[in-house]
């Protein structure tokens, strides 16, 4: 485990061990940008996978040769309503938070 972390550090510590010129810094920033973008992509992907599972359980009964129009409508509605639900939850949570702060 410790070895694993050591390896990671070696990988992400590019340049700081060498001269540390501005060109090196630029490159490190580039790599950090790529990592950040990959993290965002992974987060988005995780959300899509999560909603896919939720809506699959709601809309697909027995797998057949085609999804079918009805199921497709169910799936699109499911995604939209899931989104709406998260918004309502966030709002409600905010309300409760404010109430507990003032009260």
């Amino acid at each position: 485990m410790a070895d694993l972390f050591g390896n990671n550090n070696d990988n992400f510590d590019l340049g700081s061990s060498s001269s540390g010129s501005s060109a090196d810094k630029l490159k490190i920033e580039e790599v950090q940008k790529v990592i950040m973008m990959e993290q965002q992509k992974a987060q988005l992907n995780a959300q899509i996978q999560e909603i896919s599972e939720i809506c699959w359980e709601k809309c697909v009964d027995k797998p057949s040769a085609k999804l079918g129009g009805k199921t497709e409508v169910c799936l699109t509605n499911c995604v939209k309503r899931f989104f709406d639900t998260s918004v309502v939850i966030a709002h409600r949570f905010n309300q409760l938070l404010q109430r507990s702060n003032t009260g």
């Binding site: 490159k27 990959e38 992974a42 999804l67």
Partner: protein
């Protein structure tokens, strides 16, 4: 200098590859779980042909589901971001 640039590109490639591999692994695990639940109601002494057929179809339909969900999700995100501005 050129060598360090190479290793940096390689690092980025490796990172992307690892992320892609992990995504595939997650997808496979999830599909196994979901399709097992849908298709293998009572596990018997073997996976019979109707169960195998069900699992294959289940996987195809799930992949379609993911692409449909990601399309609606993307549309919704876009609409939301346009509302903000």
């Amino acid at each position: 200098m050129d060598g360090s640039k190479m290793s940096q590109d390689e690092l980025v490639d490796k990172l992307k590859q690892q992320v892609a591999l992990e995504n595939i692994e997650l997808l496979l695990t999830k599909m196994s779980r979901l399709c097992f639940n849908k298709c293998v109601i009572k596990p018997g002494s073997s996976l019979d042909s109707s169960e195998q057929k069900c699992v294959s179809m289940c996987m195809d339909r799930y992949m379609e589901t993911v692409s449909l969900v990601s399309k609606s999700f993307g549309e919704r995100l876009l609409a939301e971001s346009q509302n903000m501005h």
